[in-house]
Subunit: 127 residues, 3 copies
């Protein structure tokens, strides 16, 4: 399971980095806590961070279950597609939120494949 563990940590470090971009944007655009709105560009960084949070809640257990019940190598590979998809998502969303679809799909699809694969693998093992 080491490849799975490594890709999970890479995805989590990416997410921590996204959080740091939000902190920097607070300073750059003068949005003081507890406010999370007030400047369009800050809000884009904030939403990228939170959308990544939304996905990670499913991504981490899905990686682990797919790795356990299907294949650790395929889990790690799908996880890397997700990480690259998140980079595209960040870039396109900050430039223009209307163009976020490709990066979004590239990071949501691996999560759905991991979830359904994990479900299938666990059900096979049970039967």
């Amino acid at each position: 399971m080491e490849p799975v563990a490594i890709v999970i940590v890479i995805a989590l470090l990416q997410y921590v980095a996204f959080g740091m971009l939000v902190g920097r944007a607070r300073g750059t655009y003068g949005v003081k806590a507890p406010a999370v709105t007030g400047h369009e560009i800050f809000e884009r960084y904030f939403r990228v961070h939170y959308n990544t949070l939304e996905l990670l809640v499913a991504f981490v257990p899905a990686m682990w279950l797919f790795g356990t019940y299907v294949s650790p190598k395929w889990a790690a590979g799908l996880g890397l597609v997700y990480v690259v998809g998140r980079v595209l998502y960040l870039r396109s969303y900050v430039a223009d939120p209307a163009k976020r679809e490709i990066g979004f799909g590239m990071s949501v699809l691996p999560v759905i494949v991991l979830l359904i694969g994990g479900l299938w693998g666990a059900a096979q093992r049970l039967l």
Copy 2:
């Protein structure tokens, strides 16, 4: 642990479906990213999705620890109560946020039972 894994995936797929309802509500009610306010019904779907996210962060590890240290079957059963509670929560919140209590309680209580049971089971094993 397969029953626990299966119920975790079901809860995560439900959450992904809630996220899709938010995406659809963006279109229906004309709330463009990065905004997350601007139409009452959109905001209800958005809050249901995020409240489910809030719970899943505790639900997934609690399921795993309760399944490991207490009983996988009871973990799976409590997890299914949570899933049904989330369906009620979605329906009642979108209809009228003031009436969300029953679905809320039915999904929060299993999480608290799983957490405290997991704590008790791990402490028993340690002693």
Copy 3:
């Protein structure tokens, strides 16, 4: 892994308690769902809860991987530093958001150490 499991549950119960403070603040300051803004003090409790959610998404898997690949006892110790840091974060943020840095650092740093240690440990095991 029992010490790791126990500290994970303590951190999750703390987070559930933070969520209850948000629910109480809704009543005290008259912020009705689905709104999450409208009163400064409510917003502080709300942001403390959500910032804790942001960290937990990384904290829980980081604790588990560090415990698995490096040391369960050190994972548990770092986890307790995180829990204390979150108490300081809550107190200082509610009093004055500008003074949240110490509690923030004391809870973010353990998460980063757990992540990087987990990555290092898993990579060592793989090689």
